[in-house]
Symmetry: C2
Subunit: 199 residues, 2 copies
C-alpha cells in the first residue's frame, strides 16, 4: 500500500530537507493537501520560482541578496576596517539583528570538510583574500562555529593570513547565556575554562 | 536586517507547516537555495501542482487517492463485514503497511473539536452512516487516537450507532512495544491498567 504517486513524490521532495524523515515528510505532504488552497499552492510555486530566479550570493561578500552588490556592501556608513568572516548567510542575519557589528562581512559558504570532499576551492576563500588586499582593513574576525570543521577552517584562514599586517581574531566560545554547566558538552566546557578571564 | 523579500516569503510559507518555527523555516529555505538545482525547483513546482490537481479524498471512504473510488474500495477481495474508522489517511497507510487488516476503511478527516469549531458536519460522519446501512457490515472498529478529541469522537460515534445491529469496538490502548513504564504518561498507564487481562 502506497500513497498516490504524486503524493509520494511530494513526500520524497520534503525528505530532501535536512532533518526530515519519512514520517515528518508524510505529515507535511498531508498538511499541504489538507490546508493549502488552490491559491496557496500557486503562491508557493511562484515563491519557489522567484527565490531561484531573484536570489544569488552577493558578488562581493557572498551574502544572499536580490540586488548586486547587497545592501550591506552598498552601505557606506559601515566601517571598512574590520572584516567578519562567517560560514553562511544566516549568521549574517543573526549578527545584524543583534546590531552589534558595523563592519564588513564575508560569507564563506560553508566550512572545510575534507571527509565530504569540501576543499578551499569550494569556499569563497580566494575572493576573501582579494578583498583583504584593500589597505583599509585592519582586523579579520573569524566567526566560524565551534565545531571540528569550523575550527579547521579558522585555523586554515589564520595560516593563510600569517605574514600580513592584519590582526586576525577568533570570536569567543564558552557557556552561553541561560546555559547550565550540568548539561554542557565537553568542548564548550573546555573553551569556557580555557578562555577564563581574571575577575 | 531582513532576508531578500522572495526568501522571506519562502520562509513564511515553510512556517505554515506544523511544528516549523522561524529557525527551521530559515534552515529549509537556505537549504533549498543552496541544494536545489533549477530542475529540482521545477520538479518541486510540478509536484505541488500535480498533488493539488490529481489527489482528492475517495468518494467512498475518504482516503486520499488519484483514482475514484480508491484502490482499497475497489478491491473486492477485501472483507465487507468490518469497517475500520480512522482519523486520517496516514492511519490507513500505516495499518495497510502492517498488513493486519483486510476489511473496509472509513477516513473521518479529523476529530470532533468543539473548541476549534470542528463539529460532526465537518467530518465524514454522514457518509459513514450511509455506508453502514449496507447489511453486510457486522462490526465497526473505532480506531481514533488516544487523545481527548479522539475519545470524544469515538464516544460520539458509538452513541450514534446504538440501536443498530452493528458490533461497535474500540482499538486497545496501553503501553507500546519498547515503551518504558518509567517514562509513560498517565493516560497511557491508566489505559494499560484498565485494559489488563488475566494472565
Amino acid at each position: 500500500m502506497r500513497y498516490p504517486e504524486a503524493l509520494d513524490r511530494l513526500i520524497e521532495q520534503f525528505r530532501r530537507f535536512p532533518g526530515i524523515g519519512q514520517k515528518t515528510a508524510e505529515r507535511y505532504a498531508l498538511f499541504l493537501i489538507d490546508q493549502f488552497s488552490e491559491e496557496d499552492i500557486v503562491a508557493f510555486m511562484e515563491t519557489l520560482h522567484r527565490v531561484k530566479s531573484e536570489i544569488a550570493p552577493c558578488t562581493q561578500c557572498g551574502h544572499l541578496t536580490d540586488i548586486q552588490p547587497c545592501t550591506l556592501c552598498r552601505d557606506d556608513r559601515r566601517k571598512t576596517t574590520t572584516m567578519l568572516v562567517v560560514e553562511d548567510s544566516r549568521d549574517v542575519i543573526v549578527i545584524e539583528r543583534a546590531g552589534l557589528y558595523d563592519g564588513q562581512y564575508h560569507v564563506l559558504g560553508g566550512t572545510l570538510a575534507p571527509s565530504r570532499g569540501i576543499g578551499p576551492e569550494d569556499l569563497r576563500i580566494k575572493p576573501l583574500l582579494e578583498r583583504l588586499k584593500d589597505d583599509r582593513f585592519e582586523e579579520v574576525i573569524l566567526a566560524m562555529n565551534l565545531s571540528d570543521e569550523g575550527e579547521t577552517t579558522a585555523m586554515y584562514l589564520n595560516r593563510l593570513l600569517e605574514g600580513t599586517d592584519l590582526l586576525v581574531t577568533r570570536i569567543a566560545h564558552g557557556m552561553p547565556a541561560g546555559g547550565n554547566i550540568g548539561y554542557a558538552d565537553e568542548v564548550t566546557l573546555f573553551k569556557s575554562l580555557e578562555g577564563r578571564k581574571k575577575y
